[in-house]
């Protein structure tokens, strides 16, 4: 079976061209929310909330920051799964007695 027909047999969500469509829709929605922000007035408490697309860039930057911070912390905190207990049942509940 060629790769193309294999791709055709997959679920709608798993096909490559559809993922591209989804990205386009997603970015369009993002732009709409930022533009919509120009027409509403945030109730200003601290001064910065009414700046252009504040919640958009703040949400994006803080999330990237958290992922990067978690990644760095992971260098120090991550351990193999059997670190505490070599017999522990981390993968599944196949040992369950019922």
């Amino acid at each position: 079976m060629s790769e193309q027909t294999q791709d055709q047999n997959r679920r709608w969500l798993l096909r490559k061209e559809n993922i591209r469509t989804l990205w386009v829709i997603f970015i369009a929605v993002l732009i709409v929310t930022v533009i919509a922000g120009l027409f509403v007035h945030q109730h200003v408490h601290f001064g910065i909330e009414d700046s252009f697309g504040f919640f958009a860039w703040y949400g994006f930057i803080t999330c990237v920051g958290m992922v990067v911070f978690a990644k760095i912390l992971g260098i120090f905190l991550k351990r193999p799964e059997d670190y505490y207990d070599t017999n522990s049942d981390k993968g599944s509940n196949k040992d369950a007695i019922s």
Binding site: L13, F26, A36, H45, A56, C63, V64, G74, N93
Partner: protein
Amino acid sequence: MSELLFPPGLLLIFGALLMPLGQHVRNGLIFGLPVLCLILIWSAPVGYVVTLPFLGFELEPIRITTMGRLFATVFSLMVLVGGIFAYKQASTLELSAAFAYAGSAIGVTLSGDLITLFIFWEIMAIGSTLVIWAARHEGAYRASVRYLMVHLLGGLLLMIGIAGHVVDTGSIRFEALSLESISQYLILAGFLINAGAPPLSAWIADAYPEASPSGSVFLSAFTTKTAVFTLLIAFPGTWLLIPIGIYMIFYGIIYALLENDMRRILAYSIVNQVGFMVTGIGLGTEMALNGAAAHAFAHIIYKALLLMSAGAVLYRTGKRRCTDLGGLFQTMPWTATLGIIGALAISSFPFTSGFVTKSMIAQSAADQHLIYVWFALAAASAGVFLHAGIKFPWFVFFQKDSGMRPPEAPRNMLLAMTVFAVFCIGLGVYPEPLYAILPFAVTYEPYTAAHLVAQFQLLLFAGLAFFVMLPMMKRTLTISLDFDWFYRKLLYATATTISNRTASISNVFSNSTQHAWKSFQTGFQRTRVSQYHLADNWPTGSMVLWIGVILGGYLLVDIYF
């Protein structure tokens, strides 16, 4: 008005003890008890009190308050829908333990004094430990013992605190306490341990994911939210709770981002969500307290929904790691859809329950001009979408095709999930019934254009960050170190070393004493004194006999002379 004399919590506890009587009795109790409990809770008006004299104190086993009734209501609802989710697959042990656990949690919310509260508090620890045991595998047993240790410690601190408080003030009333002496701090510490506050936050992610698929659903609801309830009553407006809450919020996000086990991701996000509530309690305004209480209500429902969808996946596939899962939306579309509704609700997506409750807390931070708190809460809202709202459904239901084609979840599980999904959306679209049962009058309007735009920007750009950073989020077969390292590794290693050392020291000691005793004996045998009868070895029995004779002699002397 009917007379409510019997604590509704005890009803569930006693009912739980009858569950082993048979399948029909059990199923009848699962559906009957929570409904009866709800009726009882709402049969008495606010301010209704039942008193019971006990050891010179006036206990109040029932005191109906708006706050207590709110929590008791959602707990009853939780145990009803949890029962629907579990009754076909879970063991009787798990179900009775879960009902006793829920009953004791309800008991706490309706208790008017600290002694009643403490008794229910401890039953809760036992009930929840039994729920973990019901999973019946080695990992669950070990985790449950660690879990129990943490809760016994918390209970101990609470008991010392209560005893000290009663000595200081002479009052056992469960009401707002001021942090005046060490006693109140100990009570606060006891409550905070159950809330999952630092440093002992690890027990949630350690124990809950080891329970059975339905067990973790029950566990997620009661312990931490009962702690939130007690903090709401006893320590509203305690500023110390603000930094603690914010720490919990970010602890939950960061650890969930590092995690691979799907239910452990959700367990970390419990700490994160309780952090929002604790922050709200610290802020202490009427709106913040309303927000914390309403958020607890909404949280119990969507978190149970999320853990139900994870439980259904575990039940059907037997897998719990994100690295083993993926692509399940193809054969479990309903579980996926309902799980996504829960994920949207936890992220406070507009038109879900989280949106109308969590925003009250952030709004009160803004109203008090606490700029750092407000910025932290805004970042955290985006972070919730990142670690639970997208990460959980993405890695479990989409991601890659794992090749697994498990059948859809059993019908009773789907029904339970549907009920809670309806609540998630229903409360989001029409929050008035929830607002009406909050402790304070609600003046907050969640659906303004500015709020909607702000929330959509925040969440959708958090989503963008997730997919942009996806290569950095690749799951690894790891666990993350936490404070529990101190008691699972350091203390264990120290104890082993000490016991080895003391064993060798005591060996040396006992060898030398034995040697000395033997040489004394051989020396003694050589002397002439050893020839006499009194120097012989006597059997213990004869010694006892002679002591009896002597004591009897004393008695006779005492009676006759």
